[in-house]
Amino acid sequence: MRYKVGMNEHDDDRPLDPAAMLALLEDQQQDVQRKLARYVPAILLAWGVAWLFGFGALWAIEGAKPAFAIPLPVSVGIFVGLMVIAVIVSAVAGNRSQRGIRSSPAARFTGTVYGITGSAGFFAIFVFAAALDANGMDQQLMNIYYPSATGLFIGLMYIIAGAIWHAIPAIWMGAWIGLVALVAPFFGYPTNYLVFAVAGGGVFLIGALFMLAYSRGKRAAV
């Protein structure tokens, strides 16, 4: 911001020359958008950590044998715990960024449909897994099905979010997560979990750094 508060509080009733006024206008709008995006890096960081160490823990049940192995209950605990923390961080940060802003009925409708679709989608993936199980799917295949089904769904939800809220980076991230979910099964269990940890967690961490640079004021094409 070129405008510094308190410096010219008595002058602010006066105009500057047109070029300076246009610059003030553009700076102000960018500044507001950056401030509203201030909490996004925390959300992406939480998901990056959750994917890297959560999927990493699932991989480490059998993936690093004989060097080491994390017992199944411990790694499932780490995975679930980190995912729950990421959900909480997202909810708190989302609330902080939206505080004091009352959205329009149209935006509330979009947000509600999006939110319900998210919850319903995860539930559907779970029901579909139960149906596959009822039809005699090998338990080992669940290790392939669950991460890729949820990964594809999350990828699509990111792309749709990017389309609704005009966030181009979210579209790229969603496409990448979908691609990771498609490619990972070809590595087989347990390496597929390592692919999710590194390539999936990695993109969230890169996104967090990118958004941190953006909200700190470095110019970025968002």
Partner: protein
């Protein structure tokens, strides 16, 4: 060449209107959050908001959150249009083609 809208053509009010214009149509913001985003003093902000309200560019609504009164500010359709016209005029003055 028509003159620039004197309601918007002042630093503080341009900043207020620019900030409000980043919100979607129908979105409103509380007085304290806007003050925080603009880093203005409450007195200064309310002085300029009153001028914008007098021009019917901004609508101020009072609501309650529990027992706390909350003041919401929103750009009116007239205000958004005036801001867009003002922006176009500035760009034309500066030789742009928009």
């Amino acid at each position: 060449m028509t003159d620039l809208d004197p309601v918007i053509h002042a630093q503080a009010r341009l900043r207020i209107v620019s900030a409000l214009a980043t919100l979607d149509v129908g979105e409103s913001i509380t007085f304290p959050r806007l003050q925080d985003l603009l880093a203005m003093t409450p007195g200064n902000l309310s002085t300029h908001v009153r001028k914008l309200e007098d021009a019917a560019y901004v609508v101020v609504t009072k609501a309650h959150q529990g027992r706390m009164p909350v003041t919401y500010l929103e750009l009116t359709r007239l205000g958004r249009r005036a801001f867009e016209d003002y922006t176009d005029q500035l760009r034309k003055l500066l030789g742009g083609t928009s």
